[in-house]
C-alpha cells in the first residue's frame, strides 16, 4: 500500500495506491466512471438494483455526468487554493456528528461515492469508491469490499501512529 498526493503543492488530498491496482484509487475510479463499457457491464450485473423507470443507457449518461461534476470540483480546487475540500466530504455514518479519530467519510454525487479518512481539517485520504444503489453498504459485495478497504486503511494508519490526541479526546467525550 502506498499513499500518493493528489495536489503536488497542497497537503490536502491524498489517495491510496493498492499494490494490486495499476492506479491510485481516485484516478482508478474516475477512469472507470468515464468508461462506457465498464458502466454498461456493471449496470447489467446489478440490473435488479437499478432505480425504477431508468434504463441502462440513461444511467450510463447520468453516471458520466456525475463523474464530470467531480472532475469540475477537482479542477476548481486547482484553480482556487482558498477552496475548502471539507465541504465535499460528509461522515460515512449519517448518525455521526462529533469529530472522530481518523473519521470515515464519503464524498457523494448522486450514485457515486468516494470513501475517505479524515486526517485533519481539510485533509483527507481517499481509500476507494463505488457506484451505490442500495441503502446499506453491507448489502452488496462491491460496497462491502469498500467498507473493508476503509477499515484496513484506518488500521494501517493507527499502526503507524497516525493518531490525534485532540480528536481522540473528542472521541472520549
Amino acid at each position: 500500500m502506498e499513499i500518493v498526493r493528489i495536489f503536488a503543492a497542497r497537503n490536502e488530498l491524498f489517495a491510496v495506491h493498492y499494490s494490486n491496482e495499476k492506479h491510485d484509487e481516485l484516478k482508478r475510479l474516475l477512469l472507470l466512471w468515464n468508461d462506457v463499457s465498464y458502466l454498461n457491464q456493471f449496470l447489467i450485473q446489478n440490473k435488479s438494483d437499478i432505480p425504477k423507470g431508468k434504463t441502462i443507457t440513461q444511467l450510463v449518461r447520468q453516471i458520466i455526468d456525475n463523474a464530470n461534476e467531480i472532475d469540475d470540483t477537482l479542477y476548481n480546487l486547482i484553480l482556487d487554493e482558498s477552496m475548502n475540500i471539507d465541504s465535499f466530504f460528509k461522515p460515512l455514518n449519517n448518525n455521526e456528528y462529533k469529530i472522530l479519530e481518523l473519521w470515515k467519510q464519503k464524498g457523494r454525487n448522486n450514485y457515486l461515492r468516494i470513501y475517505a479518512l479524515r486526517i485533519d481539517t481539510n485533509c483527507y485520504l481517499i481509500t476507494g469508491g463505488a457506484i451505490k444503489f442500495t441503502r446499506i453498504m453491507d448489502d452488496r459485495p462491491h460496497t462491502k469490499k469498500e467498507l473493508n478497504k476503509i477499515e484496513k486503511c484506518r488500521n494501517y494508519l493507527l499502526d503507524n501512529n497516525v493518531t490525534d490526541e485532540e480528536s481522540f479526546l473528542n472521541f472520549l467525550n
Partner: protein, 168 residues
C-alpha cells in the same frame, strides 16, 4: 508531533497523475461525449445482434483491442472507423445516414413525393433539411423528429429519441 505530521511521513514522494487526467477530460469533454454516445450505440447494437466484440472486430478487419477501445468511449474516432461502424452495424452516427434513408424513402414508399434535400442552418441540431413535395407542401426533417405532410398523407418516419427506426 501532530496527527497530520505523522501522516505526512507515510506519504510517497510521488504525485498522482489524476489531475492531468481531469484537465484532459475537461478540455476534451465535447469529443468524449460524442465518443461515449457512439460507444453506447455500438454496445446496444451488439446486444441486439447478439454479436461479441470479437465478431465486430472480425467484420471491421481490426484487432479486438480496437473494438474494446471504441466501446469504452474514450477514443477520438476517425471518420474511417465511424463509417465502418455505421455500415456494418447499420446504426445512425453520421448525418449522411439520414440522407441515404431519405433517398431510399423517395424511391420505395412514396414515389409521388419529390425529395429535395437542402442543408439549412438549424440552431441546436447537427443538421437540418427541408423536403418539398410536388404540391409545395414542406416536409421538415431534423435529427429528432420527421413528419411528412403532403395533402392528407402524414407519417412519422423517424423519432431519434426513442431510437426506433422505421426502415422505409
Amino acid at each position: 508531533m501532530t496527527n497530520k505530521e505523522n501522516f505526512l511521513k507515510l506519504v510517497s514522494p510521488k504525485t498522482s497523475s489524476t489531475l492531468d487526467d481531469v484537465q484532459w477530460r475537461i478540455k476534451n469533454r465535447a469529443m468524449l461525449r460524442e465518443s461515449q454516445e457512439i460507444a453506447m450505440k455500438v454496445l446496444d447494437r451488439l446486444g441486439e445482434l447478439k454479436w461479441s466484440q470479437k465478431d465486430l472486430a472480425a467484420k471491421m478487419e481490426v484487432k479486438p483491442q480496437q473494438v474494446n477501445k471504441i466501446v469504452r468511449g474514450k477514443e477520438n474516432l476517425t471518420l474511417d472507423t465511424i463509417t465502418k461502424l455505421q455500415a456494418i452495424l447499420d446504426i445512425p452516427i453520421l448525418a449522411t445516414y439520414y440522407e441515404d434513408r431519405l433517398v431510399h424513402l423517395e424511391k420505395t414508399i412514396h414515389p409521388q413525393i419529390t425529395v429535395i434535400v437542402k442543408r439549412e442552418p438549424y440552431e441546436g441540431s447537427r443538421f437540418a433539411k427541408t423536403i418539398h413535395s410536388r404540391n409545395t407542401n414542406i416536409i421538415s426533417v431534423n435529427k429528432f423528429h420527421t413528419t411528412l405532410n403532403a395533402q392528407n398523407y402524414s407519417k412519422r418516419v423517424y423519432n431519434g429519441k426513442s431510437k426506433q427506426y422505421n426502415k422505409f
